[in-house]
Symmetry: C2
Subunit: 318 residues, 2 copies
């Protein structure tokens, strides 16, 4: 217990080794880890969470790297959750991307965590949420969530962010058409990176006309479309400014607190689901009626739906 | 009730409109839908589920289209679940891909369903599983699950398949290196599509040496590496044969039934989670103690973990 209190105190003080240790426990779904979050919770709710998402090869990591540099020059402490679906099961990170991040390796105002994605439904989202809480408790002013692609998982993770930037590239016109609806739903900023390549203005124009056509009231936020050349650090100051403008917009409209509550409620609901199932399986395990139910499932004598109903009726009546 | 029985009977008879209607109910998480699955369950357990996954642009849809043709010539009825993350929120399908599938539009031995992916954690996997059950009950001999990419969701969905083919392309060497571990975990067949392009043999070689290095006992299945040119229908007969060889391998080793039970147990566990939470929230809603808990959550007077524990203690004691 003393050790736990010690770890919690170190995390609140911003100790990176302690933070990494708790994140590992959470990834392993260690119940001690989730218990510690309780004590960290009063120290959370301050961080500004930015999402950066886009297809492979769009230069996201370089952009994030530049953004870290810009935010550091503004005296902010920055943590990054990099979600790496290229290695979905091993949990290893793509070497190249991480190397590019090394620029900030010796800066203790920067904490970068590559997420091991596990073969567990909803696991990635849950661990991401928990990791953001840990970073928040550690006192990072900004947490950047970097995700590849615009798949379902990535979209859900982007929705944890207060402000999400979607990165596209010159030549991506057709893809933009195809993913229109999904993009509009998540993007607060559109970035056209590698904008020194031909066709950048075409993509900007397509995005703008997509925005012109979308339904939005006068008072809504219209996502700006920004050209960047991340490898030359161009457009990064403007990008940081836009992130901050949007944050202010959210605070002024009351949406900032609303977002935070929405995520917390989702987290709460998911915890209820998992804890309720854990309690039921704990009660059930090794009982004759549970073993019989399993046998029936195996022999296809009962369907999974009826089996679930039966389990609940026996072990969670009421 | 008569209407429900009628719908169930039509589905068992293979009526596509009836099948589509139930799948829609399941996507909408309508409880009537899940109730109907109970009656379909005795008619399931026969379909051979194939997974085809790979990055955008690898020609998956064309391959799947050719595979349908080949399986039809072998007198099999084929259903396809096409998972389309390019439009994650709207649920709309990428027009191009679907148009290419039109070849089989008038063939009632073929049923193609584009999945609307919803903003619900684990929802895609659950609906995919349910859709496969419906197809199975409808009497389709083969269900093909087509997914884009190798993100986390896609990997999990590929794992529903008895046999999964991972599609790559000439020139993808580096990417293959990067996704090594994940690929080995899910691939039962490697396809190098567009094999008439330069560099195809390099990719084949890389995959083979990756397989040489991987740990596998003598009796294990070694994933074949197959070159195809889907647009010219080349390699498709061989591909169908490999799928069938692997199916036989699974049946002989007892793994086929084992896989089926594994998926059913996962489905059962997820149903327990959801039903348990539903029952608790049903009991809790509108009670003073629940409303108070929500207020405390909103005011950050309680953390989500403690709130979940409290809810369980009150509404699911034991």
């Amino acid at each position: 217990m003393l050790k736990t209190q010690n770890l919690i105190q170190k995390i609140i003080n911003g100790n990176q080794l302690a933070g990494a240790r708790l994140i590992r426990l959470l990834e392993e779904e260690d119940s001690a880890g989730i218990g510690m979050l309780k004590y960290l919770y009063p120290h959370t709710g301050q961080a500004f969470v930015m999402g950066v998402t886009g297809p492979p090869g769009s230069g996201k990591s370089t952009l994030v790297n530049c953004l870290i540099g810009e935010l550091r020059s503004r005296k902010m402490r920055v943590a990054v959750v990099a979600i790496d679906p290229s290695s979905p099961i091993s949990g290893g990170a793509l070497l190249g991307d991480r190397i590019r991040m090394r620029r900030h390796a010796d800066d203790d105002g920067v904490f970068i965590r590559s997420m091991a994605t596990r073969g567990h439904l909803g696991g990635l989202s849950k661990t991401t949420r928990e990791t953001v809480l840990v970073f928040d408790a550690m006192g990072y002013d900004v947490v950047i969530i970097e995700t590849v692609g615009v798949g379902q998982d990535e979209v859900e993770i982007a929705q944890f962010a207060h402000t999400t930037a979607v990165v596209s590239l010159p030549g991506m016109g057709d893809d933009i058409q195809a993913m229109k609806a999904g993009l509009l739903e998540i993007a607060d900023v559109f970035i056209v990176n590698k904008a020194d390549n031909p066709g950048a203005d075409d993509v900007v124009e397509q995005l703008q006309s997509m925005l012109d056509l979308s339904k939005r009231s006068e008072t809504d936020w219209r996502p700006p479309v920004l050209k960047t050349v991340a490898v030359k650090n161009e457009g990064i100051v403007e990008l940081a400014d836009i992130f901050w403008d949007h944050r202010q917009f959210l605070i002024d409209s009351g949406a900032f607190a609303e977002h935070n509550f929405k995520w917390e409620y989702q987290f709460f609901r998911q915890l209820v689901m998992e804890m309720a199932a854990d309690r039921i399986f704990d009660r059930a395990k090794d009982t004759p009626s549970f073993l019989e139910l399993l046998d029936d499932l195996k022999d296809r004598k009962v369907d999974p739906i009826s089996a679930a109903e039966k389990l609940l009726d026996i072990f969670s009546p009421g």
